[in-house]
């Protein structure tokens, strides 16, 4: 099956930050979590996909098409939810819809009305009177009302309460049942992805650390705990990051079976969360 989103050697230079020739791809039918600390390059990557920023090098293909040459066609088939609302605050939901609906070829008023009802959004309410969660739901209602095949979500859950976050995650998981769609979801709240993501791409300092299936990561990676006396030079090589205390150490490894074979029951190995993986890769004081 062809990739719904494909990024090759994408480069963007700013003063003080460079997105360094990153590559990854997402197949149809899957949800990819795009994680990394603030300032790692998540929003830059998304803005490059949307052509809000001009790339300095590389290639972006959406639905197999170049994102600049086929910009309009691609945007017709993309739904987006950003971390902030960029709607005109003075307008009501209904008025804003009236401006956006005509630009999409496949807009469905029925679908939009259905989502407004489902999300409890009053059409006559001004956008500035909506809470952050309601604004996100309004963005989502628009994204879902024009038969978008690819959903791009840039930190959609930041600043939202757990209830709305879990509602959003439920909507996304039901959406992806249609195997023709794809969801690209950037967040620094990795617990959102524990349940729903199929793939995880970790970006740090403008570089892709890994882009792999979530289950592979959670099955192969391990949090290893043990006595400090075990921790020699040879052992350190296997660690992505280590946290040391006066009692012992705790660290992340990418091949827990190897550690189990080598150290047997002298160490305790636990399953990491995505947050553990991200933190051990990105926190400088955890360097092995």
């Amino acid at each position: 099956m062809s990739a719904i989103l494909e990024i090759k050697n994408l480069r963007k230079e700013f003063k003080g930050f460079t997105l360094k020739d990153i590559s990854f791809s997402l197949e149809r039918g899957f949800i990819m979590g795009f994680i990394g600390p603030n300032g790692a390059g998540k929003s830059t990557t998304i803005k490059l996909i949307m052509n809000l920023l001009k790339k300095d090098g590389g290639e972006i293909k959406v639905f197999g098409l170049d994102n600049i040459k086929h910009e309009q066609e691609i945007k017709n088939r993309i739904g987006f939810v950003f971390d902030e609302s960029y709607f005109y605050e003075e307008l009501t939901i209904q008025e804003m819809k009236g401006i956006i609906a005509p630009v999409y070829k496949n807009w469905s008023d029925q679908a939009f009305a259905k989502y407004l009802k489902e999300f409890d959004l009053p059409p006559r309410k001004k956008i500035k009177a909506l809470s952050k969660g309601m604004k996100m739901k309004f963005s989502l209602a628009i994204a879902l009302s024009h038969e978008a095949e690819l959903l791009i979500l840039d930190e959609p859950t930041s600043g939202l309460d757990p209830l709305i976050r879990s509602e959003l995650l439920d909507i996304l998981s039901s959406l992806i049942q249609d195997e023709n769609k794809g969801i690209f979801f950037s967040t620094h709240i990795t617990s959102d992805l524990d349940k729903i993501a199929d793939y995880i791409t970790l970006i740090h300092n403008g570089e892709i650390v890994f882009s792999s299936a979530k289950d592979d990561i959670l099955d192969n990676y391990g949090i290893v705990k043990g006595d400090r006396s075990l921790l020699d030079k040879e052992m350190r090589k296997d660690f992505i990051g280590i946290k040391e205390t006066s009692f012992g150490f705790e660290g992340l490894v990418s091949d827990k079976d190897k550690i189990r074979r080598l150290y047997k029951d002298r160490v305790v190995i636990e399953k990491p969360s995505l947050e553990d993986v991200m933190l051990y890769y990105t926190r400088r004081d955890f360097n092995a």
Binding site: M50, K75, Y88, E89, P102
Partner: protein
């Protein structure tokens, strides 16, 4: 395209009302001897207010990110801004006519200079000249950074008109001035009107191309 212009109207219902009040203010305080120039002043002013208010609201909500994430080409975003000028001018002309009518009906002791075709042509020319200069700056810098330029341009626009005329009068030979005057005298009002509209159109076309090339390079 139409929805982009409609958006500009919807987001500034209040500004349109303010523009309307400004026109009343102009009609009331400017003496009759300004003649058809008063409509031109009113139109430039209402365009100034409405371009400023729509652009300010766009910058405030960062809506360029929204517009450029939708399947709308940058060409259409720029074009809509230029076409809005026609809509704003129409609003201005209609507002002026309403005031003229009301003044007549209630027998106000002021003489409102009636709307004439000549006045409309001068007005559109002034609106075209003013915005033809400003809009490329707006598309290059965004509203917040170009706000001061917009303001200065507006206030020097009227002050400089008489200055420019004097400047050329002083430096041009009387014969040249006579030639120019004769050129216009020989033409009918219709010819002059068409000439002015033609110049306005060409000016806006050049301005639009500049705006588009700036806006295509903008990053958000």
């Amino acid at each position: 395209m139409l929805n982009l212009i409609l958006k500009d109207i919807l987001i500034q219902k209040r500004a349109i009302l303010i523009g309307f009040l400004y026109i009343i203010f102009f009609v009331l305080i400017f003496p009759e001897k300004l003649g058809s120039a008063i409509l031109a002043i009113a139109l430039v002013t209402i365009n100034y207010i409405l371009v400023a208010s729509s652009s300010a609201s766009e910058d405030k909500t960062n809506s360029h990110i929204l517009l450029n994430s939708l399947p709308i080409s940058r060409r259409n975003i720029v074009l809509a801004k230029y076409l809005s000028l026609i809509v704003y001018s129409t609003i201005g002309i209609v507002a002026y006519m309403i005031i003229d009518m009301v003044a007549e009906i209630v027998n106000l002791p002021i003489e409102v200079h009636p709307v004439s075709l000549e006045g409309i042509v001068y007005g559109l020319f002034a609106v075209g000249l003013f915005n033809g200069i400003y809009l490329p700056i707006l598309f290059k810098l965004g509203y917040i950074k170009s706000k001061a330029v917009h303001f200065l341009l507006f206030f020097t626009f009227f002050g400089s008109a008489s200055y420019v005329v004097n400047f050329f009068k002083e430096r041009m030979s009387p014969a040249a001035v006579e030639n120019i005057v004769a050129f216009f005298m020989e033409r009918s009002d219709l010819q002059i009107g068409l000439l002015l509209l033609g110049i306005t159109f060409v000016m806006l076309l050049i301005s639009y191309s500049l705006s588009l090339s700036f806006y295509k390079k903008r990053e958000f």
